[in-house]
């Protein structure tokens, strides 16, 4: 880890706004994340959590605001084009994209490729890694996920939990600086969520910087250094897990949390 990333946040999000038509889904969202930290984003459905993640990972374009990842600015600060935020040039955006990984709710594995091919396609095709090196990287990631014997299997032959672990391995293969999770356990049977949470926890222990949108409250509190509570497109409360889950007296947060403990 270099000096710079120790000093300044690896992920900066400031005043992000986003509308779909007339519906403003993100209203002035700001937060910072330091390298090695884990941020949990919680909030009711439709609060804008996933849209926020999709804006930071460039799957959606934001309307205004500022984002920087690993010291690279995604948005050109202070510049606008037709009233909208102006994005950095394509090569910078691509560099940023390669330094961020995203784990989808529905895995989105490539069904026609084997588990190993799913993991090695990006290192080979995007980073230009040679096949033997990519292969050993893939096998190492699979053994980290406890799936070393599934390298030759196809995604359809795996359980949901196993598929999600493969998709985590696939995201890790590009050695991202920040890894994003969009409700990684929501498509899984309850008995399979544990194995995913365990993997994420072990990544947290290895000081992987992560942003996790989740409905698993106990997990959000457990794994996170920072928790962000969103409702109706605004950050209602943010702080340490102890503060958000224990001390905060914010009414909307209380109402939201009561639904989970009840």
């Amino acid at each position: 880890m270099d000096m710079q990333s120790e000093k300044q946040p690896i992920l900066k999000v400031a005043h992000v706004k986003k509308s779909f038509g007339r519906n403003q889904v993100l209203k002035d969202i700001s937060f910072d994340l330091n390298a090695g930290e884990v941020l949990s984003i919680i909030g009711p459905s439709g609060s804008g959590k996933s849209t926020l993640l999709r804006c930071i990972t460039q799957l959606e374009t934001l309307d205004s605001g500022f984002v920087s990842v690993n010291g690279k600015d995604m948005i050109l600060a202070g510049q606008t084009k037709n009233g909208m935020a102006k994005y950095a040039q394509a090569s910078v955006l691509r560099e940023i994209r390669l330094s961020t990984g995203l784990v989808f709710q529905n895995f989105n594995l490539f069904p026609h490729l084997t588990v190993l091919q799913n993991i090695t396609i990006a290192p080979i095709r995007v980073l230009g890694m040679d096949r033997p090196a990519a292969r050993s990287l893939g096998l190492e990631l699979l053994s980290q996920m406890g799936l070393e014997n599934k390298a030759k299997a196809y995604p359809c032959e795996l359980s949901g939990g196993q598929q999600q672990r493969v998709s985590i391995a696939r995201a890790l293969a590009l050695q991202p600086k920040v890894l994003f999770f969009d409700e990684p356990t929501s498509a899984l049977d309850p008995e399979l969520t544990g194995e995913i949470l365990k993997v994420i926890k072990s990544l947290a222990e290895k000081k992987m910087t992560m942003v996790i949108v989740t409905h698993e409250m106990a997990f959000a509190r457990d794994v996170a250094d920072k928790v962000l509570f969103m409702d109706q497109g605004v950050v209602v409360e943010q702080g340490t897990p102890e503060f958000v889950f224990g001390q905060s007296e914010n009414e909307r947060l209380q109402t939201f949390l009561a639904r989970f403990s009840g």
């Binding site: 994209r97 990984g101 995203l102 989105n108 490539f110 069904p111 095709r125 995201a171």
Partner: protein, 219 residues
Amino acid sequence: MSDLASLVPILLGGFKTTLAIFGLTLLFSIPLGLLVAVLKMSRFRIVRYPVSFYISVMRGTPLLLQIVAIYFGSYYLGEYSGLDISFDRFPAVIAAFSVNYAAYFAEIFRGGIQSISKGQYEAAYMLGLTKPQTFFRIILPQVVKRVLPASANEVITLVKDTSLAQVIAVTELFALAKKQQAAYASIYPLFVAGVFYYVANLLLSLLFAYAERKLNYYK
């Protein structure tokens, strides 16, 4: 039986023409169909609308008419304009079949491409794959599997449609069989021609069934 012995070599001559129409049509119409499918999904109306019109004309009028139109139409257009744009008979047949089948293939391919979930594109994008890499390595292989059954239908129909080439006097299998029918004063040659078509399609069906099984390694 001596009839059959002399008939089969004659009909085989026509069957060669049938196979040529079949093979060349597939060779041109499949890539053209893929291109048309991609154009029909264009963001730009100015691209999409003419392509939709082309498809609707190809599907809305008889292939028979299209063959005649391309052969005689190009001839008269050439006469009037003084340009050398007229087709010979065989190339006219290939041109008509190719543009007609491309329209049908295009709709099959478009359906296949649009059935692939947005998540596949997003996953590829997040991994840094370029647009061509995403299309050729992620999307197209999955599309091939999905469009195979519907494409098999088209390919089998094409074998039988080749008989339409006789309308501008290209002597393929069916035209030859009809000539023999007159010579023998019997419908027997037509029956033998029918067996030719049937056996060709039987082999194609087996081939497609094999391909589908091969692609069944994933869901």
